[in-house]
């Protein structure tokens, strides 16, 4: 049987259902984000962990120039080592029938004994290559999809200058390439980067690796730290052109995945907290109003013998009902949203299967969060219920006390009409509530700013990278560092307008016990294509001797201009020298050290240091240039500016439409929830005076101005606060996301601010429309008859 007090609860709720629903919607939005982020996080993490475990993803990775097979025996004694796997890995140019552009490929050897010990590719379609047939290969699944390749199709690889036919026997996925990035890319492009697994014998023959290898993976015993193994491995590989080992945390694919998981965790914490905080505030305002309207009822119930506890529970139930309804809807939306988000993730992160994690603990957590928001929101109302002495409460509440507002005291008073004064005094009477409303609305503005400004920043990063830093059309990487000959060969190709050499060497920089392995780039004074620019987007000037460091690198190594750093080249005779840091530069992508090319050459002992070239080409002769590059034996990789740009634009377009719509929706839910509830409470508190004004002959429009004037002031005040808050949140987010791979510049398109402001104005218009209907239906006679 429903008890009388519960029946009152249901009817009270029903009477203000539209306002209760608008608060539920705010809760639902927060819970939906919480559940979606947690579910995505758990699903991705579980999927990753199981996949890594099953395919034995390595813990330490290293490459060298060429290591003889007998060295591998020493790897077993590396500290903490569990399994060791050695391979031959080579970068190549791929050629597919009907595709004009050269494609970057990576060839990876499969052991003669069958499956690799570590980083095992998993067959998706077709069969494994036959050891007896040299030309057979597995191809990465995404690349096969990107080009419509099927088992039985053929593909050509330029292996050591010879165009070789490879027969595809099947497709595979690898834990090393969950996020499959080609050189220079930020976003995976399935058509531009392919991985091919071939039998070891074939690959070793082609690259002169018989009896040797150039790639080492290591798995560690549980709880073993990677650092000792890395140090020892580097020592072992040094005579063989070791390029420095890295832990799993720095492995590219893993790094991006981890970065995304960290982002999801941040999202699970930040946004739902904001949403539920706002919901708690709204519940607080609504319940306090309800208690003040029901003052006499509460007194009567107390007189009848209901305890403070029972009445307190009654109002907590009110808040819980609103909150839990929102929570239930939010859990449903969160489930759908997590599905959509995971689909989007699966476009960029590739696993053989997705382990969808729908855990009861998320639902429990979500419901607990709802309960906490409700309790927080109901607390002060319940306290005032408990404090209400029954006898006093039977009498009407004293009239509200008002004061002349500060603005008026400053001399504005004479310019204000009576309705304007009413608006100001109402706001200044409850400054905390007004401030909280402003903060609530401001959050919705800031969510909009954050969503679209992060896209602005990403676009700016691309814009700077492609139009200011890398202005070439094509970037060519050589198989080995080359001398002038290769450079002149490129310059002589028909259709090539400009060529700039890319001189560089892999090196380890050490300062005390901090060290990083980076590329030192020779920076040509007055370069036109490949430049290094600072925060002002102007080319950086080099001094003859000094080393210029990316600011991020300087931070990591704890260096400042004027300091000395130990530089150890990882190529050639591996010379070592102290160098002075002459400046730092706020570059956006990667971390590098820059040196005058002549100094660099001398440091390395007059060896060839040109590892690639930047080309400016004639668009009309593009195909001829591509064809020539495909055929050049010295070319290991070709990056195409226009392909990167197109891929980036697709990425932004997909993300824009999804993220923006979701954020727009949530921002409107918040703005509407706050503004509509505020308007309804205002209407409830002020229906009497508004009705009085109607009786005096004020028109509907005129009293609407009084009511909505207050909302207008709150909204207008919230817009600049929200824009500032959004900008600050953006700055915080970008700083948190500042990594050694890329740093997004803090920029915002003015249109972003305009859009954010317009969203809340729209939400205000919507709330006003709803409340206006109730305002027009105000029963003048009824309102005036009852005493407050």
């Amino acid at each position: 049987m429903i008890r009388a007090l519960d029946r009152k609860l249901l009817r009270d709720l029903w009477r203000v259902r539209s306002m209760a629903l608008s608060i539920s919607a705010v809760v639902a939005a927060g819970i939906a984000l919480l559940v979606a982020a947690l579910t995505c996080f758990d699903s991705l993490e579980t999927t990753r962990d199981r996949y890594y475990a099953r395919t034995r993803f390595g813990d330490v990775f290293a490459t060298a120039k060429r290591v003889p097979w007998w060295v591998a025996a020493d790897f077993a004694t590396l500290p903490g080592a569990d399994r060791v796997d050695t391979r031959v890995v080579a970068g190549v140019t791929l050629d597919i029938e009907g595709v004009v552009e050269p494609i970057n490929g990576r060839l990876i050897s499969l052991p003669d004994s069958g499956r690799p010990l570590l980083n095992q590719p998993e067959l998706q379609r077709g069969r494994w290559p036959d050891r007896e047939r040299a030309e057979e290969a597995l191809v990465s699944e995404r690349f096969a999809e990107g080009h419509g390749l099927e088992p039985g199709d053929e593909i050509f690889a330029i292996i050591n200058g010879r165009r070789q036919r490879l027969a595809i026997t099947g497709t595979a996925l690898s834990p090393e390439y969950v996020y499959s990035l080609g050189g220079g890319d930020l976003i995976p492009d399935p058509t531009r980067f392919g991985i091919l697994w071939l039998t070891r014998e074939h690959l070793a023959t082609a690259y002169d690796m018989e009896g040797g290898f150039n790639d080492i993976s290591l798995s560690l015993a549980e709880d073993a730290a990677p650092e000792p193994a890395i140090a020892e491995l580097d020592r072992l590989l040094e005579p063989w052109g070791g390029l420095g080992a890295i832990p799993r945390a720095q492995q590219t694919s893993h790094w991006y995945l981890q970065n995304e998981l960290t982002g999801l965790r941040g999202m699970a914490l930040l946004l739902p907290t904001i949403f539920l905080g706002i919901a708690a505030f709204l519940l607080n305002v609504v319940l306090r109003r309800l208690v003040s309207v029901q003052r006499e009822q509460i007194a009567m119930l107390k007189a009848l013998g209901y305890s403070n506890l029972r009445l307190g529970v009654h109002y907590i139930q009110w808040a819980l009902a609103v909150s839990v309804l929102g929570g239930a809807v939010g859990i449903g939306i969160g489930a759908l949203l997590s599905g959509a988000m995971l689909d989007l993730y699966m476009d960029y992160f590739r696993f053989p299967e997705l382990v969808s994690r729908w855990s009861g603990s998320h639902i429990a957590g979500a419901l607990f969060a709802c309960g906490a928001a409700a309790a927080l929101g109901a607390a002060s109302a319940v306290r005032s219920v408990a404090r209400l002495p029954p006898a006093e409460a039977m009498r009407p509440a004293p009239p509200d006390t008002f004061r002349v507002s500060i603005l008026e005291r400053l001399g504005l008073r004479r310019w204000l009409s009576q309705p304007a004064r009413m608006v100001l005094r109402n706001l200044s009477r409850r400054p905390l509530r007004a401030a909280m409303s402003v903060v609530g609305i401001a959050f919705s503005v800031s969510i909009m700013v954050l969503a679209s400004a992060s896209i602005d920043s990403f676009e700016e990063l691309m814009e700077v990278q492609f139009n200011v830093v890398q202005r070439q059309d094509v970037t060519v990487t050589f198989v080995e560092p080359e001398g002038r000959a290769a450079f002149f060969e490129l310059a002589a190709l028909p259709g090539v307008l400009e060529v700039e050499p890319q001189a560089g060497v892999s090196a380890r920089l050490r300062n005390g016990n901090r060290s990083r392995q980076v590329g030192i780039q020779g920076l040509v004074e007055g370069a036109r294509l490949q430049r290094v620019v600072g925060a002002d987007y102007r080319p950086v000037r080099l001094e003859r001797e000094g080393l210029v460091l990316s600011r991020k690198l300087a931070d990591v190594l704890d260096l400042e201009p004027g300091d000395t750093v130990r530089v150890e080249a990882l190529q050639g005779t591996r010379p070592e020298r102290d160098m002075v840091v002459s400046a730092t530069v706020d570059d956006l992508m990667g971390v590098s050290a820059y040196l005058d090319p002549e100094t660099l050459r001398r440091f390395l002992g007059d060896t060839a240091i040109v590892g690639g070239a930047a080309l400016g080409i004639d668009a009309a002769e593009r195909e001829a240039v591509y064809a020539a590059l495909k055929a050049m034996p010295v070319v290991a990789g070709v990056a195409l500016q226009h392909a990167m740009l197109e891929n980036f634009e697709t990425f932004v377009a997909e993300n824009m439409s999804n993220t923006m719509v979701i954020n727009l929706f949530f921002a409107i839910v918040i703005a509407f929830g706050v503004i509509y509830s505020t308007a309804r409470i205002s209407l409830s508190e002020r229906s009497r005076e508004l009705a009085s004004m109607r009786v005096m002959g004020f028109t509907r429009r005129e009293i609407a101005v009084v009511l909505f004037g207050e909302l207008g002031v709150l909204t207008l005040a919230a817009i600049p606060v929200g824009l500032g808050l959004g900008y600050a949140m953006l700055a915080g987010m970008l700083a948190a996301y500042e990594t050694e791979l890329f740093r997004m510049p803090l920029v915002t398109d003015p249109a972003t601010f305009v859009w954010a402001a317009m969203t809340v104005v729209l939400a205000m218009g919507l709330s006003a429309l709803f409340v206006r209907r109730q305002l027009d239906g105000l029963d003048l006679v009824e309102v005036l008859k009852t005493r407050e």
């Binding site: 509200d400 008002f402 004061r403 004064r421 109402n426 009085s692 004004m693 109607r694 009786v695 005096m696």
Partner: protein, 228 residues
């Protein structure tokens, strides 16, 4: 008003608040409408003031048919012609006494200065006080000042002393009577208190939605002389 009836439908019950009332009000007259609660006097006042429309019959104000007027026309009628005073004052709590009066003068064509209106009800010295700083009688006198500031043709008072004790009630009635005499507004006061009837020209008793009795006072008693 001619044959005015008003039927409220409350759920499944029809309540006949007025049953065919025909009445004329003379310009400048002072009428008291007497009757117990439920007699229909508030309904009558609301219809006179353009807050409500009758179910049947006609209400004419100087030739204008209020029964055919739309919402907009009724608002204009209230704005220009009618001053209201209610039992519970209905002042705007966020405005001072003077500002409450100015609220009306700002939307009127030819209003009294707010100071003068407050002077008439004897509250010049309380002009800058907020409602929460004033007694009930003072608040009601501000309401009267607010009602008369627009120089209304009609002043309608619904139980103006209902929430007040005798002495403050008398002050309020004095203010109403004075306004009636000095500004010539046609005045109607609703009350269930028969003692008040003595200060009017004309007393109409209502019962069960009909006029039970109508009488004229030869002389109006001073408000200060009445007791209840």
């Amino acid at each position: 008003m001619r044959d005015v009836t008003k039927v409220y439908v409350m759920g499944e019950v029809e309540v006949h608040a007025l049953r065919g009332i025909t009445l004329d009000f003379e310009d400048g007259g002072f009428t008291v409408l007497l009757g117990p609660s439920g007699s229909g006097k508030s309904t009558l006042l609301n219809i006179l003031g353009g807050l409500d429309t009758p179910t049947d019959g006609r209400v004419l104000y100087r030739g204008q048919d209020l029964t055919r007027a739309d919402e907009r026309a009724l608002t204009r009628y209230r704005r220009r012609r009618v001053g209201f005073v209610f039992q519970f004052y209905n002042l705007i709590p966020s405005l001072t006494a003077r500002e409450n009066v100015e609220l009306v003068t700002e939307i009127s064509d030819d209003p009294l200065p707010a100071a003068e209106a407050l002077d008439i009800v004897g509250l010049s010295n309380r002009a800058d006080h907020f409602p929460s700083q004033m007694s009930g009688g003072e608040q009601q006198r501000v309401a009267i000042a607010r009602a008369i500031a627009k120089r209304p043709d009609i002043l309608l008072c619904d139980e103006p002393t209902g929430a007040l004790d005798i002495s403050t009630g008398i002050q309020v009635l004095e203010a109403i009577a004075r306004v009636n005499v000095e500004y010539g507004a046609t005045t109607a006061v609703i009350t269930h208190n028969a003692a008040i009837a003595r200060i009017a020209d004309r007393v109409i008793s209502l019962a069960d939605g009909q006029i039970a009795r109508e009488r004229f006072n030869a002389t109006r008693a001073a408000a200060s002389s009445i007791e209840w």
